[in-house]
């Protein structure tokens, strides 16, 4: 292959490649947006349920932090 041929091939691949990436991801944007709308219509997005679960007990959170640390240390010690 001559050098100019190689350059041309490279340019062509760049053009096609970059173009294809954009076309494909544009299709994906469209498909994703449509999908989200369909899903939202079929199954309306639930209210964020965090408030119900989180404040159950603040103490719990603290206990959990202590526990997490303890479990972590336990694991590290027993790993080797």
């Amino acid at each position: 292959m001559l050098d100019t041929e190689l350059l041309q091939e490279g340019l062509a691949l760049m053009g096609f490649g970059m173009g294809f990436v954009f076309v494909f991801l544009t299709l994906l944007v469209i498909a994703t947006t449509l999908m989200s709308r369909v899903v939202d219509r079929l199954v309306p997005a639930p209210e964020p349920k965090a408030p119900a679960a989180a404040p159950a007990r603040q103490d719990d959170e603290e206990l959990l932090a202590v526990l997490s640390a303890a479990v972590h240390r336990y694991r590290q010690r027993h790993r080797r």
Partner: protein, 439 residues
């Protein structure tokens, strides 16, 4: 006395070539970067160590049985090999014989003759080196990068991308780094500085995708002879993202742009997350079948993660399985760091082009974000554009950090995760295009 001499002639010290010394030092350097500087240690520790192993003189850990025989067998065995390989050995210089045989074995020898020659090599007591076996099973088959991609899929949360699908454009733009680098490699060849084929240029370009497994997968198909240098460049520059990107990000954006606040992401439902990998899979099936192995495994991993009914499989894909495969993938990549292949001027070219790829990809992502910002009503901080190169999650963290410098109350991390994972998809698509045309 005879035996003592055998021991000495067979020792590493007696056979040590300068190239091997250099490569062992490079292996140690990679380990230093991985361990002390924390450069992508999960890959660079095995790669660096594998590189050292591959360059142990006389051990032939990275060689096939046939290459091993060609390199060290007695003249009689070489003559047998020449006979079945249908090569004539001129003169009496055994080293020249080895060169001739090596050339013949690696230049289109028909497979049935390779088999016959391998039979002779094995009959003479040579066997496939350990790293060669790892490479065959893990990389030459294409399996290891795909399994890692499955694990990456199982670790990826597409929530931010689904909340703001426009960020896919940023992931697309950043792939310009890939194709610009391909042109760079082609240009260097046209200028006569380097000598890369189009296949090699494409494999080098993929470094700009900032995705280790994608780089390894593509170069195992298009340019296995460059795989070592490409993988090392890909992982090294991924680790350097926090150094390479910020100056470019600051140069291309104004203080005011960097301070743009983005509206909070909408919550994404579980069902959307389950359906998204299937939508992506169907698009791949319809428009780019050549990306099906890479994106198929990625989507499979992500579906296992999100569907909520196969937690034990998802866990294993994210832990035991990806770890096992990473160990062998790393060692296998290391097997491509043999002096004769790695110590070429091309490697310098790859290293140089690699950093250019990252820089251009970063710039393209930011410019695309500025463009989106100009045409859209919803404000978008251009700093998240740089995350489109992927290098998950480092590039997103860089976006966040540079954003915090301009506006200490503006947390861009979650916003940058959108283009970040879009970049993974983008480079896999680019990889598919490359394989379609050149594979």
């Amino acid at each position: 006395m005879d035996k003592l001499l055998t021991l000495w002639y067979g020792s590493g010290l007696y056979n040590l070539g300068l190239g091997q010394v250099v490569m062992i030092v490079i292996g140690l350097l990679l380990l230093y970067l991985a361990i002390h500087k924390k450069f992508e240690p999960l890959l660079l520790v095995p790669i660096g160590f594998g590189g050292i192993l591959a360059n142990i003189p006389e051990a032939g850990l990275a060689l096939s049985a046939l290459d091993q025989a060609i390199e060290v067998a007695r003249p009689a065995v070489l003559q047998e090999l020449a006979a079945v390989m249908q090569v004539s050995l001129a003169g009496s210089d055994v080293e020249a014989w080895r060169t001739t045989l090596y050339g013949a074995a690696h230049d289109g020898l028909p497979p049935e003759l390779v088999r016959a020659a391998t039979d002779i090599a094995k009959g003479a007591g040579y066997s496939n080196g350990m790293l060669y076996q790892f490479y065959s099973v893990a990389i030459a088959s294409g399996v290891a990068p795909l399994v890692i991609f499955m694990g990456v899929g199982a670790m990826t949360d597409f929530g931010p991308l689904l909340a703001n699908p426009r960020t896919l454009f940023l992931g697309a733009a950043a792939q310009f780094g890939i194709f610009a680098t391909l042109m760079g490699a082609v240009g260097l060849t046209a200028l006569g500085v380097m000598d890369f084929s189009l296949n090699q240029a494409a494999a080098i370009g993929i470094i700009g995708g900032a995705d280790g497994p994608t780089s390894i997968y593509v170069s195992s198909i298009l340019a296995p002879e460059l795989l070592g240098a490409i993988a090392v460049a890909a992982y090294a520059y991924m680790a350097l993202v926090p150094l390479i990107q910020p100056p470019i990000m600051r140069a291309l954006t104004s203080e005011k742009e960097r301070a743009i606040a983005m509206s909070q992401l909408r919550p994404v439902s579980k069902l959307e997350k389950i359906v998204f990998p299937l939508v992506l899979l169907v698009l791949v099936a319809l428009f780019l079948p050549d990306a099906a192995p890479l994106l198929g495994m990625f989507c499979f991993g992500n579906l296992m993660r999100e569907c909520g009914v196969v937690e034990r499989l998802s866990d294993t894909a994210q832990n035991a399985l990806i770890n096992i495969v990473t160990i062998f993938l790393g060692l296998s990549v290391g097997s491509k760091l043999v002096a004769s292949q790695f110590l070429a001027v091309e490697t310098l070219g790859i290293m140089g082009l690699g950093v250019v790829a990252f820089a251009i990809g970063t710039a393209a992502g930011i410019l695309m974000a500025k463009l989106l910002n100009a045409v859209s009503k919803v404000p978008i901080n251009p700093l998240i554009g740089s995350a489109g190169v992927s290098a998950v999650p480092m590039a997103a963290r860089v976006s966040n950090k540079v954003g915090l410098e301009a506006n200490p109350h503006n947390f861009l991390l979650m916003h940058a995760m959108g283009p970040n994972v879009a970049g993974v998809i983008g480079s896999a698509v680019a990889a598919g295009v490359m394989i379609k045309y050149l594979g």
